[in-house]
Symmetry: C2
Subunit: 412 residues, 2 copies
């Protein structure tokens, strides 16, 4: 593991207990002996679940399992292991998930169909699920409500800090809590693939309505970050709602359009946004945190495509690493995105500095200004492409020699 | 400029003169004083031209100029400068092209509409075309038929060797020659953006037929290579056919489907393929030359998309740099391509070594085998995705710390 990210938080947030959620962690010896690599979370009966899973066509066995279970929408247990992604493991991979779910169902005294499974780590190596199964009974006994930091640490792979976030929101005047944990973004962490994020709340929301809260927030969180453009076989986001706030007078929400969800939706979006930015801030080898904002595009989707083209350009990312205000590379990245852009109206800002406008370098812009700005640790690139009103923001980091060192030398 | 590519040819090929083509080069002081940075090529009356230009939405002024002229299809002169791409230069950029074309037309005694212009170098800085215009008269006087190596050198930017290729072909029993020169691929060379390639032949082929020879060959040459996935504002490929072979009995070809073009088509494709691979072999900081072959895809296009996803994956490219047979990253790159792939039928080979089949690591494969293979300087990755009969090959190179060094430190 490399040195800790310069953007690691000084203090970890404390996540309060959520009624109906208990957790425990263990060292199951999945890849490294003695490393805590297993999380078991148990949920009270009546817990609903919604989620978003990788779009990869070579999705892992646990992702396939979760996709089938999500249609059903109820959950009693979550098993997460690090060290092995159980991806590209064929029939044996499916058997490993099945064995894990059987053991979890026995330990949690629930149906297999109510068990969710996520794995992160090496791709292509068979996962010995008996190591997991052997631990779940004890973990069920030990599970307690205030174990979020331990849980966030158990799912880390090459992450250099645990990722935690929490918010409160009122639903019809009753306060509910939303806790979230996450680990390393997409394929930042190569063999140790995967972005995983889990949210927990005591709100009482049916699966379809929960899904409606989750999906719009993806665009401003996990779908708006990129480290290296690689997509994992295992990306998994799950939200569990125990409904236990009903005992304190919270309503049972059946429909996503229910206006009483307004504050809850925002809080969910904030937790996801917070976690997503923490994931970027732990990007491998990063020295700069970068916000790319595109305005004036034909649509929001077009703006996002252009912003991602900029954020994924190795040339833009290496220029940022080199503190070079190389806006020509930004122009080229806009051009290759394939979306409409009016070259002769294009405007580019670095922070507040107007670098280019009307398809030319801006009058009065000096390279010295740009170079001074690039020395900061947080870089904002804003591009107006001059054709419409679509806008989007994407967050990323720079591409450094350290990234290459980590990824070229990783398994050797 | 870094050290010379380990894949630079030991000996440059000698390109024979082609009747109807004359060239000269000069140091015009466009970016660096004393550096040869200007090529002027003159063609006999009756020369036809076809081409392919960048799909970038922020294409340079010279690209826009060429796109308009190609509809017309006749050429008398080509002006190429390095040091400044004349891209994102707005109205002044268009004026610079116009001034260049006027001066070239005067020097070549032709119409402005018969002049083609290409520029490569820094993006966003105004190009002082008067420096070019001042040289063209003398260059027209000096132009001679055997200046291909000098021409290939004049268009270099961060290229570490000049790129030259030549082939002969018979059209209806009469031998014709095809010469080609090229420079650095796509955005390998950041500020010094751009892949440029120019082919010259004495065959007598009308513009539409010439275009029909050119375009199918793109898929196996310039459209099948990638260094870092970035697309330049300025990519330009032009083929000039002087028709002077008619004096030796060659036919005048009007239609692309003419069967007498069979050997010529192949020779054009070979010159383009040869040049394109030279471009990859001069990728910035490369230590490995990589061939990615995808078979069993739904279509040729799907195969190409998957191959590019593998070839552009920073994680695959850094693994190759680290000599790590990390096939899990290949699986992930297949998955993120978004094309149909049958995970449980996927097969991966490194060279001749079967690494994975039927969605699992292959029986008998050992990491030691893979690691030994990865020590070679030419790496072949073959992936069968198990859904159809579409196949495609893409060529690329590894991603090294040297690439980051070149691109992060370039302008500082």
């Amino acid at each position: 593991m490399g040195k800790i990210s310069p953007f690691a938080p000084k203090h970890l947030p404390h996540l309060p207990p959520i009624e109906g959620v208990r957790m425990a962690t263990a060292a199951a010896g999945i890849r490294y002996p003695g490393r805590v690599d297993l999380l078991f979370a148990l949920f009270d009966p009546g817990t609903s679940v919604a989620g978003a899973l990788t779009t990869s066509k070579t999705a892992s066995a646990p992702v396939d399992w979760c996709r089938e279970r999500l249609a059903h929408g109820m959950a009693r247990a979550l098993v997460v292991n690090s060290g092995n992604a159980n991806a590209f493991t064929g029939r044996r991979g499916r058997e490993a998930v099945k064995l894990t779910a059987e053991a979890a169902a026995a330990a949690a005294n629930c149906l297999e169909a109510d068990v969710y499974v996520a794995s992160t780590g090496v791709i292509g190596e068979p996962l010995d699920a008996s190591k997991i199964a052997a631990k779940l009974g004890d973990l069920a006994d030990q599970a307690k409500p205030d174990a979020y930091e331990a849980a966030a640490r158990a799912i880390m792979t090459t992450d250099t800090f645990p990722k935690l976030a929490t918010r409160k929101a009122e639903i019809d005047g009753v306060e509910v809590t939303i806790n979230g944990i996450a680990k390393g973004a997409g394929m930042i962490a190569p063999d140790m693939a995967t972005m995983l994020a889990f949210l927990f709340t005591d709100a009482a929301i049916e699966p379809g309505a929960l899904r409606d809260c989750l999906h719009p927030a993806l665009d401003e969180s996990f779908n708006a970050i990129t480290i290296d453009g690689d997509t994992s076989t295992s990306d998994t986001l799950l939200v569990f709602a125990t409904g236990r706030a009903i005992a304190r007078g919270a309503p049972h929400i059946a429909y996503g359009e229910d206006p009483r969800l307004a504050a809850f939706r925002i809080a969910v979006a904030q937790v996801m946004h917070d976690l997503a930015l923490q994931v970027v801030k732990d990007g491998e080898g990063l020295t700069k945190f970068v916000t790319v904002r595109v305005t004036g595009a034909e649509s929001k989707e077009a703006a996002r495509t252009i912003a991602k083209s900029i954020a994924n350009s190795p040339l833009v990312k290496t220029a940022i690493a080199g503190e070079d205000p190389n806006w020509g590379r930004i122009v080229a990245a806009v051009g290759k995105a394939g979306e409409r852009a009016e070259r002769d109206l294009l405007a580019i800002r670095l922070g507040e500095i107007l670098v280019a406008k009307d398809g030319e370098v801006a009058p009065g812009y000096s390279e010295a200004q740009g170079a001074a700005y690039m020395k900061g640790s947080e870089i904002a690139i804003t591009v107006d492409v001059g054709v419409g009103s679509g806008a989007a923001t994407v967050w990323t980091c720079d591409l450094t020699k350290e990234y290459i060192a980590i990824n070229a030398d990783y398994r050797s």
